[in-house]
Structure formats: structure tokens, C-alpha cells
Symmetry: C2
């Protein structure tokens, strides 16, 4: 894909409008998005103008607000009107929320009465809820129709709806009575009645269901669309899979940022100002730094100890680093298990027991390694000192493994998100306790005071 | 969902078979999977026996190998035969690969000739390739048919194919000539010819395309299914979205494990033995420990320095910890940008410049914080010593930010996966260089030797 697209981009200036149009008719929108950022505004507008209407709409839907604006404002009023009429109500609403006040006003004027009504209806709902993702262009049929009638209705409406793969069965008050997939309709007999073959137990979401929950439901039940109902079970609209994919992506980015210790939004890196980047990162670093300085208190408490045995100082970063790594590993496993629904709080005992053995085995392994290394490679330390460090490391690893495994379970049980809370809490706890374990063990073994 | 399911599980023993059957007819397979692990084998077999055939098949497809085996072997030969006939060829092939030799042999005997042929065909391909995911039950039509004929064909075949949403147009040698979506067929006129309305530029994958690449293509182009062709463009089968979801999940888990520093497979935590868990974690910890012990060499080099100013020792974990955190933040941002395709190596200059300012601003902020903290809270240190630590911390943060941002770009450019390589390399580099920066700065500022 990328080779063909790179070549296309390089030769863009040499193509006539006709050649460009022909290349574009064979090009997927996803391929255009691939290098859209690298185009000049003039190039972007030129390509846009040579796309057919359907692709224009799809491209607009995929682009961020500022790009949408520059393309729409480059169109004549007439062309813009045709394009806006083609957009799905939910995409149109997103568009209206993304562009500037000025563009919004001029766009509003050119909308049809129907589109205005749909947009106003959708604007009532919170952007982050199910209703904020839904489209009002779904297929609905009365329960008393036959399969042949329904199929005819599908064929007539196919241009006007976002998905034809489900038909929703509603009564006269628009209350949702059932659902039937297009597949089921196709496999039924022409004179079967919809009410006899529809599924009555419909998976629905409420208008205020959080969008991440909507995504989870679509994923869990392998649905292409899910209906949104109000508290009287009246059908308001449907959320389709493609709208949810974006939610899943954004959520994934957010999770990854959280694991990396960052707050706030998921704007693109290149679009973020230096100040935005600083604001995103500094809260977490500040919190972690304040926590980390507690280690100065621990070290200060044991100061007499490392004055009499400076060799102990040499291993401070090794101890805290290895403790942190062991803790991160077990917390990663447990947090992932919680996220996929495999682990629950009632597994606490099993997890604790497993990690006890795992931590002990790994601790012994790493302890032996650090002793061997200290005896064989510089900086050389006394055998007994090396053994003390090794034994201390073993305890630190064991402790870190147990904390890493149990903390997420407890934090999750208390109703917090372990991805966010576990990292700083654990890092601090492991550093402070790890250093204490280290010095206490060494003091005992080396007979210092 | 979970409340209803918890209640169902608790009252399971009291339900008659008829009541159980009625509850199950309204229950989605995803809901059963939710607590499947917690059932005894007898309970599992009882529930399974009361499901209708379609749900039996769906449940079997969702379960891991050992569970599949115990359910299948509990069935009579006759029942097993009916069930196996209902399974899609790709699911059947997966099943055959997951169960024990014994079960495989007995299952093989009860398969129909057609199912045996399909399974043998699919077994020829690598499990991790496109062909390993594909089903051979797709809809194909000749290009010369009319829309009405095609629609009739769809209605006749709907029970036999995995998806009805695309029709593939092939010639007599099974070479792929085009594709048309069911939606397009429904919106066309009855006597339109398929060849006039089909899309000729078909997105395809080859039989040996890696499964993660297949997932990426389905996602990028928002497809429900993608055709698999051989090098003569002959249609071998199709990969549908639901098969790819599992690939995406497994890949996500793998990435998260890698970020947490773990090697190897993505088995479930509760199914992994202690020894498996140790083997998964110890390679990484060993590598990181060996790298971390290089800090002992750095510290040993500066030993005279912290003997004359023990206060410097107190801040060792603060320095390495904060350096590590800053580096992790910027590498997380850059790695995510690379993964989503937003960043490329040619952005190196921009990234470097941005991170220079970001690192400097954050460094100054954190430096001031650590000075303030050291003067206000115990352990109290001299003002000039605190200022030295603060300035050193600022440099360490700046350095770590730059390394964290540029290392993934370089590693990616060299053709390695930055998620795997960046973490240990960075941690070591930042610890070692950070400590060196710290001691050199402090020595200069405090006038020590």
C-alpha cells in the first residue's frame, strides 16, 4: 500500500485533473488519510475536489476538525450543501461540534429542515454517551409485516440508512419489541411474519450509557450495531460498529498513556504545543518525585550504616531498579487479567500463593546472579558482603512481586482503576520498603549497627 | 448483565432441566463465558446439554481446548456428529488442532466426506497466516448474473456461508474478478448485471500474509471480511471480522506484556503453572539486572565523592527514579505515535526540538521542587547542596526526556520493535548516564574532588 501511495504523492504535481480523478477512483480513503498530513493545503483541496461525492463525505468524516473546516470552506455554497446533505446525522453533529462558530453558522443555513431537526435532536445528548454516538437513520418495521414486505422495505431504504444488517421492530409508540438480522430475513420464507421470527430479547443500551461501555457491549456480543433506548424502551437510534472503533482506539491510547504516567487528552503528538505536552506530563512526575523523595528519609535513617560500609551504597540503584521491575511484571499480569475479566478479587488467595512461589524462585535466581557478578566482575566486593546483598535482593524481589500482584486486586476492589493508581503507589512502596529490607538484612548479616 | 448472571449461577442447582432450557434460550453465549471458569465439570456439561444446537456450536468455538474436549467427549457419538457438521470449517480446523490426539481420531471418524476435505485443505496452511484464519464457506457468483439471480442465490445459500455481506465474483478458474456488498445488491435494480456494478479493485490478502497484517487491513479499510487469494489471484477463502478480533486481542495482550517486560505467550494467568510464570519473567529481569549492576561501576568510580559528601547518596534513588519516569513518558508518547502511524523517522528533528524545550521546562520545575522540599522537610540538607541536587536533577530529566523520545525513533528506523527494545536499553542508559551527570554536576558545584 505505502509504496503505491508514496509514488502517487511524489507525482501528484504532474497529474492532470483527469488522471488524478482516475487514480482517486481506485484509491481507498484510508490510503489518502495515510499521507494527508503531509499535503499542503492547496494539494489537499485539489485532491478533495476530484473525489466523488461518497468519498468526499467519507474523507470529511475521518479528518480532524481544522482539516474539515479548510475543505468545507473551499467548496462553493452549492457544493457544500450537497455534501452536508449526504452526511449521516451523527457525523454531521460531530462535524458541527468540531468546526469554528463562523463555519458552523454558515453551514447551518445551508442545511435542509430534516437535517436541522436531526442535528438538533442529537445535539441534546452528551458527546461521551451512547446517544452522542448514535445515528437516527436505522431500519424499523412493524411486527405484523411479512418477510417479503420487510425485504422490499429494506431495498427501498438502503440509501437512506447507515446499516441494513439489522431491522428493528417497534410498535406505534416507537417502543422496541424485537430485532431481526438481514441474514435471518434472507433465510426465511417470503410469507413468514416478522413477529414470529424476530428475536424478542434485544441487547440495548440507554441513552446515557457511557461510550466505553457501549464499545464493550458491541465487542462482547459481536454485534454490528446496538439500539439506544430511553427509559420507556423507546428506540432513539442505533450505534454502529465503525463509530465504536474510534472509541476503542482512543481508549487504548488513553490506557497506554496512563501506563506511561500521563494525564489528559489523546491529541496527536505533532498537534500538541510544548506547553500542552508539559502540562500532560508534569503532574505525574511531580507526584512521583514527591513520593520518591521519601527514599531520602529512609536513606538518612540508615546513614550511619552506609558510612561504615560504603559498599552497600553501590547497590542502591540495583536494588530499587530490580524491585521496581519485578513489581511491574506482576502488576502487568494481574491488571491485564482484571481487564480481560479473567481475574476477580475472589482469586486473591490463589494469586498470593502463586506469586509467593514465583517471587521466591525469581528472587533466589537473581540473588545468586548478583553474588556471582560481584565476585567475578569489578567493582569487587567481599564475598560475605556480596552474599548479604544477594539475600537482601531476594527478599526485595519477593516483596515487590507480592505487592505488584496484590495491589491491583485491592485497588480494583475499592473501585479505582488499577492502571492509574497502581504505578505510583507501587513504585513508592517498593522503593521505600525495598531499601528498608535491604539495609535491615545487610545490617543483620554483616553485624553492623 | 453480571447481576442476572450471578443470580443464575447461584440458583443453577435448583432449576429443573426445563427451567434451565428456558433461561438459556434468552442467554447470550458471551454471558455464559463470563462465569464458565467457575462451573464444575458436571454443571458445565449440564448447561451445555440444554443449549440449542446453534448455541452449542458458538459456545464450543469460544472455549479453550481442554474445555472443548470435555464437552465433546460428554456427548454421544451421534450428537457429536451433528454438532461437528454445524461448525464452520475454520473453527473445526482450530478445534482439531486444540484437542488431544485421542479425541481428534474419534472426531475424525465421525466427520462427513465434505468436512474432511475442507479440514484437510485448511490444515495445509500455517495457523498464524491469513489462510490459517480463513473459512472456505463464502458466497461466489459469476460476473454475468443479474442482481435478481444473485439475490436468489444469497437467499438459498445463507445457511451455508459464514457471511452474506459480500459476494465474490470469480471466473471459471476461480480467479477473483470483483466484489459486491449485499448492500449494493439490495440497492441495485433487479436486472442490473453484477459485472456492471461490482467493485473491480478488490482489497485482498495472500495466503501467507501474517495474521496481524490481516487484522490491520480489515481495521484500516473498515471491512467485515477480506478475501484470501493465491499468487494466481485464485480465491482460496475469506477471513471475517470476528476471527480477527481474537487476533487483535491477543496482540494487545502481547504488547502490554512486552511493555511490562515479559516474554513468551499470552496464556491465561490462572492456567499458567508457577514454572511457566517464572520462565516468562526471569529472562527480562536477568537482562535488566545485569544492566543495572553497571550502576555499581559508576558509583564505585565516584566513591570518594560520596564519602566526602554523604548527602549526595541520599538522592541516588530520587535521581534514577525521576530520570526513569521522564524517559518512560516521552518514549510512551513516541512509541504510540509510531504505532498509530502519526510519527515517522523524518520527524526526528521536530521531535528533538520539542522534547528539548519540554525536557528543559519540566527539568526546571522538578529541580525547583526538589530544592524546596530539601529545605523545608527533613532530611535537612544545606541550601547549596540542595541547589546542586536540583540543578543536577534538571539535567538528568532533560537528558532522559531526549533519550526517551529519540531512542524509539532510531530503534524503529533500524527495523526493531521499539516496544521491546526501548525499555531495557533506556533504563540502563538513563540510570548510568543520569548518575554520571548527577555526580559530575555536584562535584563541579560543590567544588569537591
Amino acid at each position: 500500500m505505502s509504496d503505491r501511495m508514496d509514488q502517487f504523492r511524489d507525482t501528484l504535481g504532474e497529474l492532470s485533473n483527469r488522471e488524478l480523478k482516475s487514480v482517486l477512483s481506485d484509491t481507498a480513503i484510508a490510503d489518502l488519510i495515510y499521507f494527508w498530513d503531509e499535503l499542503s493545503e492547496a494539494e489537499a483541496i485539489r485532491i478533495f475536489s476530484q473525489l466523488d461525492l461518497e468519498k468526499k463525505v467519507n474523507l470529511i468524516n475521518e479528518l480532524p476538525g481544522p482539516d474539515q473546516e479548510s475543505l468545507i470552506t473551499a467548496l462553493s455554497v452549492e457544493h457544500a450543501k450537497v455534501l452536508l446533505e449526504e452526511m449521516e446525522p451523527d457525523d454531521l453533529t460531530d462535524f458541527m461540534q468540531a468546526v469554528s462558530q463562523e463555519v458552523r453558522d454558515s453551514v447551518w443555513k445551508s442545511l435542509s429542515e430534516e437535517a436541522k431537526q436531526e442535528t438538533l435532536f442529537l445535539l441534546k445528548f452528551d458527546e461521551d454517551d451512547a446517544a452522542g454516538l448514535m445515528t437516527t437513520r436505522y431500519l424499523a418495521v412493524p411486527a405484523t409485516r411479512t418477510v417479503a414486505q420487510a425485504l422490499n422495505w429494506v431495498r427501498k431504504s438502503v440509501q437512506k440508512v447507515e446499516t441494513v444488517y439489522y431491522l428493528y421492530v417497534v410498535d406505534q409508540l416507537k417502543r422496541l419489541k424485537g430485532v431481526i438480522s438481514l441474514r435471518e430475513i434472507l433465510s426465511a420464507m417470503d410469507d413468514d411474519r416478522i413477529e414470529d421470527i424476530m428475536v424478542k430479547q434485544v441487547t440495548t443500551v440507554r441513552e446515557d450509557t457511557d461510550q466505553e461501555e457501549v464499545a464493550r457491549i458491541l465487542e462482547t456480543y459481536d454485534l454490528i450495531a446496538v439500539p439506544v433506548v430511553d427509559r420507556y424502551n423507546r428506540l432513539l437510534g442505533i450505534v454502529t460498529f465503525d463509530d465504536v472503533i474510534d472509541v476503542i482506539r482512543a481508549e487504548q491510547t488513553e490506557d497506554i498513556y496512563r501506563m506511561g504516567g500521563m494525564a489528559g487528552g489523546t491529541e496527536r503528538y505533532m498537534d500538541s504545543s510544548i506547553w500542552t505536552l508539559v502540562k500532560k506530563r508534569i503532574p505525574w512526575l511531580t507526584l512521583l518525585l514527591v513520593a520518591a523523595t521519601l527514599t531520602t528519609n529512609v536513606l538518612s535513617y540508615f546513614e550511619s550504616l552506609f558510612i561504615s560500609a560504603t559498599v552497600l551504597t553501590l547497590f542502591i540503584p540495583t536494588i530499587t531498579g530490580t524491585g521496581g521491575n519485578s513489581g511491574t511484571q506482576s502488576s502487568t499480569l494481574i491488571i491485564r487479567g482484571l481487564a480481560t475479566g479473567e481475574l476477580h478479587f475472589h482469586d486473591f488467595g490463589t494469586v498470593l500463593l502463586k506469586e509467593l512461589f514465583v517471587g521466591l524462585l525469581i528472587g533466589i535466581g537473581l540473588g545468586i546472579l548478583v553474588v556471582a557478578r560481584s565476585v567475578v566482575l569489578p567493582p569487587f566486593v567481599g564475598v560475605w558482603e556480596a552474599v548479604s546483598v544477594g539475600i537482601a535482593l531476594c527478599f526485595v524481589v519477593l516483596f515487590a512481586t507480592l505487592v505488584g500482584a496484590t495491589a491491583p486486586l485491592i485497588i480494583n476492589r475499592l473501585g479505582f482503576d488499577p492502571t492509574v493508581v497502581a504505578a505510583p503507589l507501587m513504585a513508592t512502596l517498593i522503593d521505600i520498603t525495598g531499601l528498608t529490607i535491604y539495609f535491615v538484612t545487610a545490617r543483620l548479616l554483616l553485624g553492623l549497627s
